[in-house]
């Protein structure tokens, strides 16, 4: 088990190196533009070259990357080209903001989707039709439109909630909850739609399996068979979908963060990208990959616990 986790972590690190290398190589052609962007218009090419040398961007790309990598290994992600702040610190800060939204969204997604999916699969009839219609609607309407509609309705029309802005949870939990309510709902719609469809589908398949009938013939209640046996068997695939939704949410939060002016990971990445702030972009990429690797590892471990056949320890 320990060996397995170590092996997975090592392969995750390899992945992080690969992804950051690819990102760096892809960014390299635009270094010139970044430099002139920073220095402003109407400067001699002489000055541009001097600044480029000063920033170390004139060296061979691979040398620059290895330089960045060796610093990163030592925990130093450099400083932003533009704000001069330490990248590691600011990325962490913004990631915290986004995670506080994404984690709440995921927890609610699980609660809503499992309830709806199980009810739809085991009851059928009206519950199922409502669930399917709801899940379809979630697929149909782009995230962006839901966010706009919610701001208009809840914040502008009904004035129930703040339209934009963010309060960190450490500052004022109540204000935090209010500030993330609309963003969370906007994100929730799509992720609930996806997971509910998955839970419903696998639950229908599970409930048709032979063991369900056999357990029933032993006098075990339908409820226990559904919740203790079928749901547990259906949980594995659902968890995998959930991990995909997590990754999607990391990026998907971006639009919501922009609409609601939340200083999150996505909008931070967006601004850094617009400016061509290479150290920040690299830091963001690294954090994102490590996060995804961790999530996937966690999902595999939980899957192993759920499904004895997939157990690797």
């Amino acid at each position: 088990m320990l060996l397995y986790v170590i092996r997975r972590l090592v392969s995750g690190l390899v992945l992080a190196v690969l992804v950051t290398l690819i990102t760096f190589l892809l960014l390299a052609p635009s270094f010139d533009g970044i430099v002139s962007n920073r220095i402003g218009i109407g400067v001699t090419s002489e000055a541009v070259r001097a600044l480029k040398a000063d920033m170390g961007l004139d060296r061979p790309v691979l040398v620059q990357y290895l330089d960045w990598l060796s610093d990163a290994v030592r925990g130093d992600l450099g400083v932003s080209f533009f704000s001069g702040e330490a990248v590691g610190h600011t990325v962490g800060q913004h990631l915290g903001v986004t995670l506080s939204i994404v984690v709440v969204t995921l927890l609610l997604t699980v609660a809503v989707s499992v309830t709806l999916g199980v009810l739809a699969a085991s009851r059928g009839g009206a519950v199922d039709r409502i669930t399917q219609a709801a899940s379809l609607t979630g697929h149909l309407v782009p995230n962006l439109l839901i966010a706009i509609a919610l701001v208009y309705l809840l914040a502008i029309r009904l004035k129930l909630l703040p339209a934009t802005g963010f309060t960190p949870v450490t500052e004022d939990p109540a204000a935090w909850a209010r500030s993330i309510t609309i963003p969370v709902i906007a994100l929730l719609v799509a992720s609930v739609a996806g997971l509910t469809a998955q839970v419903r589908g696998t639950m229908i398949d599970e409930l048709r399996k032979d063991y369900v009938r056999t357990l029933r013939t032993r006098g075990i209640s339908t409820r226990a068979v559904v919740l203790r046996h079928a749901l547990r068997n259906a949980a594995g695939p659902a968890l995998t979908v959930l991990s995909f939704e997590f990754v999607a949410l990391l990026g998907g939060a971006l639009i919501v963060e922009k609409v609601f002016a939340i200083p999150g990971f996505g909008s931070y990445a967006f601004d850094a990208s617009l400016q061509g702030d290479v150290p920040v972009i690299m830091g963001i990429t690294l954090f994102a990959v490590l996060l995804v690797v961790t999530i996937n590892l966690a999902v595999d471990l939980v899957n192993g616990w759920l499904n004895p056949k997939a157990r690797i320890f």
Binding site: V19, G124, H139, L144, T202, M203, T214, N233, K309
Partner: protein, 594 residues
């Protein structure tokens, strides 16, 4: 998952009817029509609008609806909203085409290679799981310095990010199709791998790929709009996203400005999703439908004439399944059975003769779509049809018990053997956890499991089929039922194990004095263990009698035919149950009769 994999066998008749069905499906026709209409509007944009998308006029800033030449008014920069809307359609269509075609090209090509050539698979698997770890939108953002925000390049990258989904579909289909006989035949007849891939395999995967394409287009359009909303890319490219963003800024002054792009964008993505769903229903058959897990609502028990004291009396039982066209198709039509306490009755017949359906009806565990159209099932004088699930639950395990046919699929794969048995025992008898555990251990020893402690803690996949069947027998007899229904309890087992299991059943029956309803197609088994025999064919009992009578002089020709076949076949069925007759197919689709 048990979903059957589409075989993808070329069937010209099905193809024609697919196009037909699509044309008759209102959802497909309406959504496809709507999309075509929108695309046509986009193509005709220069003719339909009197201004260019970026032409601004100071006189028309925030102009209202119906301003001459500005049907939907002007935006905050004085541009024609109608013209911008039409040109935005083109941006969306181009995004969809680029995103979807890149995803299809990359995904299909890699899927064919990875699925067909085993050696290439680990490389493709690795690559695509790598692609899947990228947070998509974030990557598009991060690479903005590279793309310069050009939506066409961005969409091409997005296409690559979408390709793992297509890759998986194609790879799975190809792996499934590769070993089909028609591909083997093509190989034997000398076709090269490349021709086989192009002609046969590609043909087989077209269905799921067509469906996925609709969704690919939808997400491409959504992502392009999202990025434009954020302000990625030059402002001169008209897009629903940038229109929505401008309208959003202007929300307090002219709320309608955000509505128009949202409306068209929403219509396009919604149509694509709905079209994809319609395609899925038509190409892959109807969607899975759930149904309440509970006792059936049966017709009111009808027969009452028999006042005998037999333990189980089944009279005129008829079970039907709805066909796709809505009619009822009877799989059991008027079965009469009678079983005395302590007696063993063999219910014999071929696959699809309705024996398992009859057994399930007695247990009250018929699949939910089944309909009991008439008849009566009485246990100890009490009518079972029409009982509530909770009332039936009180009988199950304690009074009636069940041994299934296929040992492995009848154990929950993710619960230990012991915990499943303990749960059943506690549900039926209400003993404490500790006592249940001890009784289960004793039972496991009783049914001949060598190391009960070890098996108790094992998962089903860790024990053999013979062991699993013993476990299931232990589970069935745990509460000393009065009636044991055994559905082909030996069919799935090796010949040597079969005899042991039959011996065990006979011993347990003597020990506990149970009545046994033994469902089987095998006269060898019947001769071994049964007092009386009922022969079923096409949903009816054609002959009943004591074993001795039937073996000595069977009256019904069908019984004689079955008896004769025993001599040829010995006692083992080696072929898998085939869904040969239409009736068997119906029962099969109900997923029950084996």
């Amino acid at each position: 998952m048990t979903a059957e994999t589409p075989t993808g066998r070329p069937d010209p008749r099905r193809r024609r009817s697919t196009a037909h069905k699509l044309l008759r499906d209102p959802q497909a026709v309406v959504t496809a029509g709507l999309l075509l209409f929108i695309v046509a509007m986009g193509l005709l944009a220069p003719l339909l609008a009197s201004h260019g998308p970026n032409e601004s006029s100071l006189d028309h800033i925030d102009a209202g609806i119906g301003t001459p030449d500005y049907p939907l008014g002007g935006d905050h920069s004085g541009r024609d909203i109608w013209a911008r809307l039409l040109h935005s359609i083109n941006t969306s269509v181009v995004s969809a085409l680029i995103g979807a075609s890149i995803a299809l090209i990359v995904g299909v090509a890699a899927g064919l290679v990875g699925g067909y050539y085993d050696r290439a698979r680990s490389a493709t698997e690795w690559t695509f799981s790598l692609v899947m770890t990228f947070p998509g939108l974030l990557l598009l953002i991060v690479l903005m310095p590279l793309t310069g925000g050009d939506f066409r390049i961005t969409m091409a990258i997005f296409g690559v990010l979408l390709s793992p989904g297509i890759y998986r579909i194609v790879r799975n289909q190809v792996v499934g199709v590769k070993n089909e006989l028609f591909v083997d035949a093509a190989r034997v007849s000398g076709l090269t791998d490349r021709r086989i891939l192009a002609r046969h395999v590609l043909f087989a995967v077209r269905g799921p790929v067509i469906i996925a394409t609709a969704f690919l287009c939808g997400s491409s359009i959504g992502v392009q709009a999202g990025l434009a909303f954020l302000g990625v890319g030059p402002a001169t490219v008209p897009s629903f996203g940038s229109m929505a963003a401008e309208g959003f800024q202007n929300l307090y002054i002219a709320p309608l400005q955000v509505v128009w792009p949202s409306l068209v964008l929403g219509t396009m993505t919604a149509s694509l999703v709905l079209l994809g769903n319609a395609l899925r229903d038509t190409l892959e058959g109807a969607t899975r439908r759930p149904s309440k897990v509970a006792a059936l609502k049966a017709a009111k028990a009808s027969a009452v004439d028999d006042a005998s004291s037999a333990l189980l009396v089944v009279q005129d039982l008829a079970i039907a399944y709805p066909t796709p066209s809505g009619e009822l198709n009877e799989v059991v039509s008027g079965v009469d059975l009678r079983l005395e306490a302590g007696e063993t009755l063999g219910l014999v017949g071929e696959s699809g003769s309705g024996k398992t359906q009859t057994a399930f009806a007695v247990l009250g565990v018929l699949p939910p779509e089944a309909v009991i159209t008439r008849g009566s099932i009485r246990l100890d004088g009490r009518e079972l049809l029409g009982l509530k699930e909770s009332e039936l639950r009180g009988l199950r395990g304690r009074t009636i018990a069940y041994i299934p046919q296929e040992p492995m699929s009848n154990l929950d794969p993710s619960a230990t053997v012991g915990s499943q048995l303990v749960e059943g025992l506690r549900a039926a008898s209400g003993v404490s956890r500790q006592e249940a555990r001890e009784r289960v251990l004793a039972l496991l020893a009783r049914v001949g499991i060598p190391d009960p402690e070890h098996t108790f803690g094992s998962y089903p996949h860790q024990i053999s089929g013979g062991m699993a069947q013993r476990v299931l027998i232990a589970g069935a007899v745990a509460c000393r039922p009065v009636l044991l229904i055994a559905d082909e309890p030996t069919t799935a087992l090796d010949v040597t194990v079969q005899a042991e299991i039959l011996d065990l059943l006979r011993d347990l029956q003597e020990e506990m004095g149970m009545a046994v309803l033994l469902v089987t197609h095998n006269f060898g088994v019947v001769a071994d263990i049964c007092d009386r025999i009922a022969v079923m064919r096409d949903g009816r009992v054609v002959e009943t009698g004591t074993s001795l009578e039937i073996f000595r002089e069977a009256r019904h020709p069908y019984t004689r035919m079955l008896l004769d076949s025993v001599l040829d076949e010995e006692t083992v069925r080696t072929d898998p149950p085939a869904a040969a007759s239409p009736m068997a197919a119906v029962a099969e689709s109900a997923g029950k009769e084996k």
